[in-house]
C-alpha cells in the first residue's frame, strides 16, 4: 500500500477529527445555544464519516473488508452511544448552574465541547486501529483510543469515585501500554521491520531458514498480546474493569464496554496476522487457550457474587472477552463464517456491543435518590413503573446470555463453531458451561425487573435520547437475530482480509495448522 492509498483510507478519520476540533472550539462559545450544537456536530461528523466509508465500499465494488466493516460498526454503534452519552455534560452540576444562569459564564468551568471531542477522538482511534498497517501506527491508534477514555471516566461525574476510577484506569492503562509497546519493540528487534507485511515476510524467511519463527518474535507477540489484553479486559489484565465501570457514569461505562474492546480485538487480530499463514507457535496457542478459559471463568464466577448491576455487567463484559478470545484461536480459517474465527469475532463484537449498550442505556435512563440507578434494588419491579425499559433490559440480557432468537445466540454459534472446526473442543465445552453459569446472573437482572417489588423511588431521567438509544439497541439485537444472514455474510467477507495482508484480495483458504488442530 503506498502513501496515497493510506491517506485516501483515512478520510473518515479526518472527518471525525474535524468534528472533534469543531466541538472543542464551539464548546468555548459564550452563548449556551451555540454550545448546545456540539452534540449535533458530533452526530453530523459521525454521519459524514459513515457516508465516506460507504462511498469507499461502493468504489471498491461493494466488497467490505475488515477495515470498512469495523468503521461502519463504529459509526453505527457510535451513533447509539452518542445518544446515550448526549446528556452527560448536563449531568454535571457546574455546567447546569452556568447554563441555567445561576453562575456567571466562565469558559474554564463549562463542559460541553470537550466531552464530545474526546468521544470522537476515541472513535477515531478505533478506526485508525482498523486501518493500521504498521506497528508504530497501531500503537498510536490504540493510545488515541484509550487516552480520551481516561479523561471521560474521570470528569463525567461529580463524584470522587469517578476521579478515583479515572486515575486507576489511567495508571493501569499506562502500564499495559508499556507492556505492549515493549512487545512491539521486540517484534521490531526480531524482524527489523515495522510494517506488517514486511514482518510477515521476515517471519516466513525465518521459517524457511529454521523451520520456526525466532523465539524473540514469539516473545514480542506474547508481550503484545498480554498488553493489549488490558483493552479487552481479559485475564490477567481484567482487574480494573469492575471498579472503573462502576465509578464512571453509566453512559461512559457503555462507551468503555464497546470502544476500547473493539480496538483491542482489532489489534489482536492484526498482531496474530503477523504470524505466517497456518503457523501458530504452541506457546501462543497455549497462552490464548489459558487466557480464554480463565477470562470466561473469572468473569462469570465473579459476576455471580455482585449486588451492583453495573459491576455484574462489567464482569459479564470480561466473560464476553473470554468468548471472543476463543475465536482468536480459530483465526486462520476457511471461507465460511463457521470456520473463520475473524469473521466470528467481528460478528460477535456487534452482537455483544448492541446488547451491552442496551443494558447500560436502560440503567442510564433511570435514577434513584438523585443518583444513577445501579443496584438490584434500583431496578427492582421496573416492569410496573417503566414497562418498556424493563422489556429492553430483558431483550439485552437474553442476547448477552445467547438465547435464540437474539443476535447473541448467532454470535455464540459462530464463535464456538469456528473453534470446534479448529479442534478446540475442550475450550468450547468450558465456554458452554460458562454460558450456563452466566444465565444465573443475567436472569437475576431480568427477574429483578419483572418479579421484584418496586419501592417506587426509581424514576426516569429527563430526556428521550437514552431510552430511545436503549430501544434501538435492543430492537436491532432482535431484528439482526432473526435476519442476521446479511451481517453474517458481511462479517465473513470482512474476515477474509487479515490486516497484515491487505493487498491480497482473495486469500486462498488454508487448512488449519497441525499444531492447532491436534488438540
Amino acid at each position: 500500500m503506498n502513501m496515497a492509498e493510506k491517506i485516501a483510507g483515512v478520510w473518515p478519520e479526518i472527518a471525525l477529527l474535524l468534528g472533534a476540533a469543531l466541538c472543542l472550539l464551539v464548546g468555548l462559545a459564550r452563548s449556551v445555544a451555540i454550545r448546545r450544537f456540539t452534540g449535533w456536530i458530533a452526530a453530523a461528523s459521525l454521519l459524514v464519516a459513515g457516508w465516506i466509508v460507504a462511498a469507499q465500499v461502493c468504489n471498491a465494488g461493494g466488497v467490505i473488508g475488515l477495515t470498512p466493516y469495523i468503521k461502519l460498526a463504529v459509526v453505527a454503534v457510535g451513533l447509539i452511544l452518542l445518544m446515550v452519552a448526549a446528556a452527560v455534560p448536563v449531568q454535571l452540576k457546574m455546567t447546569r448552574d452556568i447554563e441555567a444562569g445561576r453562575e456567571p459564564f466562565e469558559p474554564g468551568l463549562v463542559i460541553r465541547g470537550e466531552f464530545f471531542a474526546f468521544f470522537l477522538f476515541s472513535l477515531t482511534g478505533v478506526m485508525l486501529t482498523a486501518d493500521a498497517s504498521d506497528l508504530v501506527w497501531l500503537f498510536l491508534a490504540l493510545e488515541l483510543t484509550s487516552l480520551p477514555t481516561y479523561v471521560m471516566v474521570a470528569t463525567s461525574r461529580d463524584r470522587v469515585e469517578a476521579q478515583e476510577s479515572g486515575v486507576k484506569y489511567f495508571f493501569l492503562g499506562a502500564m499495559a501500554a508499556a507492556v505492549f509497546l515493549y512487545g512491539f519493540a521486540l517484534i521490531y528487534g526480531a524482524t527489523g521491520q515495522t510494517s506488517f507485511s514486511l514482518i510477515v515476510d521476515a517471519a516466513n524467511q525465518q521459517i524457511a531458514a529454521q523451520g520456526r519463527i525466532s523465539p524473540l518474535l514469539t516473545t514480542g507477540i506474547v508481550l503484545s498480546l498480554l498488553g493489549v489484553a488490558f483493552k479487552i479486559a481479559a485475564v490477567p489484565m481484567h482487574f480494573y474493569a469492575a471498579d472503573v465501570y462502576q465509578g464512571a457514569t453509566t453512559a461512559v461505562t457503555a462507551f468503555l464496554a464497546f470502544v476500547p474492546k473493539t480496538a483491542g480485538f482489532v489489534a489482536l487480530i492484526a498482531l496474530l496476522g503477523l504470524l505466517p499463514d497456518g503457523y501458530v507457535p504452541p506457546a501462543i496457542t497455549w497462552l490464548l487457550w489459558i487466557m480464554a478459559a480463565l477470562t470466561m471463568t473469572v468473569g462469570n464466577v465473579l459476576g455471580l457474587m455482585q449486588s451492583n448491576v453495573k459491576r455484574v455487567l462489567a464482569y459479564s463484559s470480561i466473560a464476553h472477552s473470554g468468548y471472543m478470545l476463543v475465536g482468536l484461536l480459530a483465526l486462520h480459517g476457511s471461507g465460511d463464517a463457521l470456520g473463520n474465527g475473524t469473521a466470528a469475532i467481528l460478528f460477535y463484537l456487534v452482537a455483544y456491543g448492541l446488547a451491552t449498550i442496551g443494558a447500560f442505556a436502560v440503567l442510564g435512563s433511570l435514577q434513584a435518590r438523585g443518583e444513577e440507578a445501579e443496584t438490584f434494588d434500583d431496578i427492582s419491579g421496573l416492569v410496573r413503573t417503566h414497562p418498556v425499559l424493563a422489556g429492553v433490559m430483558l431483550l439485552s440480557v437474553l442476547s448477552l446470555l445467547g438465547l435464540p432468537p437474539m443476535i447473541g445466540f448467532l454470535g455464540k454459534i459462530y464463535l464456538f463453531g469456528s473453534a470446534i472446526q479448529h479442534g478446540f473442543v475442550g475450550l468450547v465445552v468450558i465456554a458452554v458451561l460458562n454460558s450456563a453459569v452466566s444465565a444465573v446472573y443475567y436472569l437475576r437482572i431480568a427477574s429483578a425487573c419483572f418479579f421484584g417489588d418496586s419501592e417506587g423511588h426509581t424514576v426516569s431521567t429527563p430526556g428521550i435520547s437514552r431510552p430511545l438509544a436503549a430501544g434501538i439497541a435492543a430492537v436491532a439485537a432482535l431484528i439482526l437475530g432473526f435476519a442476521g444472514g446479511r451481517l453474517v455474510s458481511t462479517a465473513r467477507d470482512a474476515g477474509g482480509f487479515p490486516t497484515g495482508r491487505n493487498d491480497v484480495v482473495t486469500t486462498p483458504s488454508q487448512p488449519p495448522a497441525a499444531t492447532t488442530a491436534s488438540r
Binding site: 493510506k6 474554564g108 508504530v136 493510545e143 481516561y150 479523561v151 524473540l216 516473545t219
Partner: protein
C-alpha cells in the same frame, strides 16, 4: 544515510566499546534496582534520571544521536520534572515513605521473574545479528536527522499526524482536568 554504504561500516567507539557498554549497563541496572528498592519518591526520581541517562548513552553508542538527544530532552528533562512536580502537588511531604505490603512485593517479584524468564527465553534461543548488521548503515549526525524527517513525512506520515492529534488530546485532557479540579478545590 547512504553515504557510508560503500565504506567500512563504523564501529562507534571502537576498542573502548565493551568497557563503555558494561559501565553504562552497570549504571542502568544499579539505578533501576535503586528505583525499585528505594522508598523515597524523590530518590526514585533521581535514580530514574540515571537510568534514563544511561539508556541515552546506549543510544549514543548505537550511533542514534537524534534518539539519544530526544531521550535526554524529553525523558531526562521533561518527564522527570513532571514526576517531581507531581510529588510536589500531591503529597503533603515530599519525603514521605512509600511502603509496600509483603504480598505486594511477592506478587511484584513473581511478575518480574515471569517477564524475565520470557525475555531470557527469547534472547537465548535467538541468533541475534552482530557487528555491521546490528548497527545498520547509519550516517550519523545531520544525515540521520534528515533521514528521520523524510521518513516521518513519507512512510510514517499517518503515524506522524496521529502523534500530533495524540499530543492535542493530552494537552486538552491535562488542561481540562487540572483546571477543573483547581476550581473545585477553591470553591
Amino acid at each position: 544515510m547512504l553515504l557510508l554504504a560503500d565504506q567500512t561500516v563504523v564501529e562507534p567507539f571502537g576498542a573502548v566499546k565493551p568497557l563503555l557498554f558494561y559501565a553504562l549497563a552497570a549504571v542502568i541496572v544499579l539505578s533501576a534496582w535503586g528505583i525499585v528498592l528505594s522508598q523515597n519518591i524523590v530518590r526514585m526520581a533521581v535514580y530514574l534520571l540515571l537510568t534514563l541517562a544511561g539508556v541515552a548513552g546506549f543510544y549514543f553508542m548505537l550511533h542514534a544521536e537524534f534518539l539519544a538527544a530526544v531521550q535526554l530532552i524529553v525523558y531526562a528533562g521533561g518527564t522527570l520534572i513532571l514526576i517531581v512536580f507531581g510529588v510536589m502537588l500531591t503529597s503533603k511531604n515530599p519525603f514521605m515513605q512509600l511502603k509496600t505490603a509483603l504480598w505486594e512485593r511477592f506478587v511484584g517479584v513473581l511478575i518480574g521473574l515471569v517477564i524475565f524468564g520470557l525475555l531470557l527465553f527469547g534472547l537465548v534461543h535467538t541468533a541475534l545479528p552482530t557487528g555491521a548488521a546490528a548497527t545498520g548503515e547509519s550516517g550519523g549526525g545531520h544525515y540521520q536527522v534528515a533521514a528521520i524527517g523524510r521518513a516521518l513525512l513519507s512512510d510514517y506520515l499517518v503515524p506522524f499526524e496521529v502523534a500530533a492529534v495524540l499530543l492535542l488530546v493530552v494537552m486538552i485532557g491535562a488542561a481540562f482536568m487540572a483546571r477543573r479540579s483547581a476550581k473545585q478545590g477553591n470553591g
